[in-house]
């Protein structure tokens, strides 16, 4: 058994989990990296880590004994495509998380657990939300708070060094960026912004999110919250404008009512609420530039990899 313990990644085949696993492969040999996926097959994870296809609620104590984790990265938030499904998923997630906590409590040296949450947990803000800002979840986060409560409780009671990582809007292939910005731009020839466009958003790239998550385990304070941020917050209109400049397209305002009609309350809340994110833990984050010009580079990179745009 590796003397420095194992690194577990739960939800390794998911959006953040996959990127985190790839970043972790650069730091840890396959013997130390235990990844858990569910359903989706991933040849790279199969080869470069000790991989298990196993839902969160079926991880056994036997595995904890055999590969005792020193760090657990939890990116296995159970998701749902409607409010009702999200609620059910959150209930299941809460039960699975509680079960995991009980198993971890039995370990001689309990590990540090980094839970990948989201910054929608902070809700509407007039100035930058930091780690001391109380949680007021909106949009998707309303249901998902229930799933992370077992970790918040275990942390409050000092049973587990659970660190809640709250990444800003994660910019990567697929996801909200494609669904609400790039795809409509490709379809209509105009880059949308929603509502007034004055709402502030904080964005970070998927790669930087993965790298920062890894650092939270080493450099974050025990029992802490850690906002994962990169660029200074910008208005959604400015965000759309940067994208529009790159694509050589105009922007278009999509009224909140139109968004509401098309996608419902949860999506509208998520896209139209101003949630600028900052952090009180800037000390270990110097390797990630906060220059907004970096955002342009990230967007260029993303678009470059978009097959549709590459063809045109």
């Amino acid at each position: 058994m590796p003397s420095d313990g194992h690194i577990w990644i739960l939800g390794a085949t998911g959006y953040v989990g996959r990127a985190l696993s790839v970043a972790a492969m650069k730091e840890y040999p396959p013997a130390r990296l235990i990844t858990f996926g569910h359903r989706k097959m991933d040849a790279r994870l199969m080869e470069e880590s000790n991989h298990f296809v196993c839902p969160l609620n079926e991880i056994s104590e036997g595995l904890l004994e055999r590969y005792p984790p020193k760090k657990i990265f939890h990116c296995a938030r159970m998701a749902g495509s409607s409010d009702r499904k999200r609620h059910t998923a959150a209930q299941k997630g809460a039960a699975a998380n509680e079960r995991l906590i009980q198993m971890l409590r039995k370990m001689k040296d309990s590990p540090v657990l980094i839970y990948c949450s989201g910054s929608l947990m902070y809700g509407p803000q007039t100035s930058e939300a930091n780690e001391q800002t109380p949680l007021k979840p909106i949009g998707y986060a309303r249901a998902y708070l229930q799933a992370e409560e077992p970790f918040l409780n275990a942390r409050n009671e000092r049973h587990l060094d659970a660190r809640m990582a709250r990444p800003a809007w994660i910019l990567g292939p697929g996801s909200w960026f494609h669904a609400f910005f790039l795809d409509p731009a490709k379809k209509t020839g105009k880059v949308p912004y929603y509502g007034s466009g004055e709402q502030l958003m904080s964005v970070l790239s998927l790669k930087s999110c993965a790298e920062q998550l890894l650092r939270v385990a080493d450099k974050g304070a025990p029992f802490s919250d850690q906002n994962l941020v990169c660029y200074a917050p910008l208005t959604q209109r400015d965000f759309s404008q940067i994208l529009a400049d790159i694509l050589g397209l105009p922007t278009i305002r999509v009224p909140e009512s139109a968004l509401l009609k098309r996608h419902g309350k949860t999506v509208t809340e998520a896209l139209c609420t101003s949630i600028p994110i900052g952090t009180l833990n800037d000390d270990w984050r110097t390797e990630w530039s906060r220059e907004v010009s970096g955002l342009r580079t990230d967007l260029l990179e993303l678009i470059h990899f978009d097959p549709f745009l590459r063809r045109s």
Binding site: P30, E47, N50
Partner: protein, 269 residues
């Protein structure tokens, strides 16, 4: 030319394609992952893989279990070379490979015994005498040791039905014959498919206990039904896989395309 020269030549020619085909086939990847998880269920100190091919699993196990030793025997010189290149590339001091058939374990690994022997994707479907092969394996397996053997199965019911529907009765029942020509429609490789009952008898003869057997591709299409796998919606494919896993250890498991056997030698926990 001896039978093993024929088998070796067949895989020598196929080696590079074999590896490339695998990376493009998600069904094979999923099955392999499940095979690996079966092996990982129990810790081991020294493992032997028969028929490691390009070395997917031998290299993987050597990398994730650096404290264990993983040895391998394959009848194809080309496959041995491919695996050796990977061992060198990863500088694996705990992996060793040699050329030969299952009857040559002692020559390649003299005075070595194993607490795990595994065979993935059917190397034991191409042996001269399956009973003799079991004797050789059992002979090298330590007391309390475990064998995880996978075989191309004889009674692959779904395959029979599909071939009958395609109007190919000869294909449908080809696995029931004494000699099965292998997967390739163009290259003949004299092989033999076995039923769970036949494997059970072989195991019993050499004093191995059949712990479980588990079928693969019972309802979900086999790895080589490319068109079917492509056309089937993802959800349905997943549902078929889930169903297969639920019934795999029961009697219907014996009707899968592959069957995995978990055999234990006396003294096992």
């Amino acid at each position: 030319m001896s039978y093993y020269e024929e088998v070796g030549n067949y895989y020598d020619k196929d080696a590079v394609d074999f590896e490339q085909r695998y990376w493009k086939n998600p069904v094979l990847q999923r099955i392999r992952q499940s095979f690996r998880e079966e092996v990982k269920q129990l810790p081991f100190r020294r493992a032997l893989e028969i028929g490691f091919g390009p070395g997917f699993d031998l290299i993987h196990f050597a990398r994730i279990f650096p404290e264990a030793e993983v040895c391998g025997l394959d009848v194809s010189q080309e496959m041995v070379q491919l695996a050796q290149q990977k061992i060198d590339a990863h500088a694996l001091a705990n992996a060793r490979v040699g050329q030969g058939s299952v009857e040559h374990i002692t020559e390649q690994f003299p005075e070595t015994s194993f607490d795990l022997i595994y065979v993935f994707f059917g190397a034991l479907n191409t042996v001269e005498d399956i009973e003799r092969a079991f004797e050789c394996l059992s002979d090298r397996l330590e007391e309390g040791g475990r064998m995880v053997l996978t075989f191309v199965n004889k009674w692959y019911l779904q395959g029979m039905l599909i071939e009958l529907l395609k109007g190919r009765p000869v294909q449908a029942f080809s696995r029931l014959k004494k000699v099965w020509g292998g997967y390739s429609p163009t290259e003949f490789l004299a092989s033999r498919c076995y039923s769970p009952a036949e494997i059970g008898r072989c195991a019993e003869r050499v004093g191995l206990k059949l712990f479980t057997h588990s079928g693969y591709s019972i309802f979900s299409p086999a790895w080589y039904y490319h068109g079917l796998n492509r056309r089937l919606p993802g959800r349905l494919r997943q549902a078929a896989w889930d169903l297969d896993r639920r019934i795999a250890d029961g009697p219907l498991g014996g009707l899968g395309e592959y069957v995995l056997y978990d055999l234990r030698k006396k003294g096992s926990k």
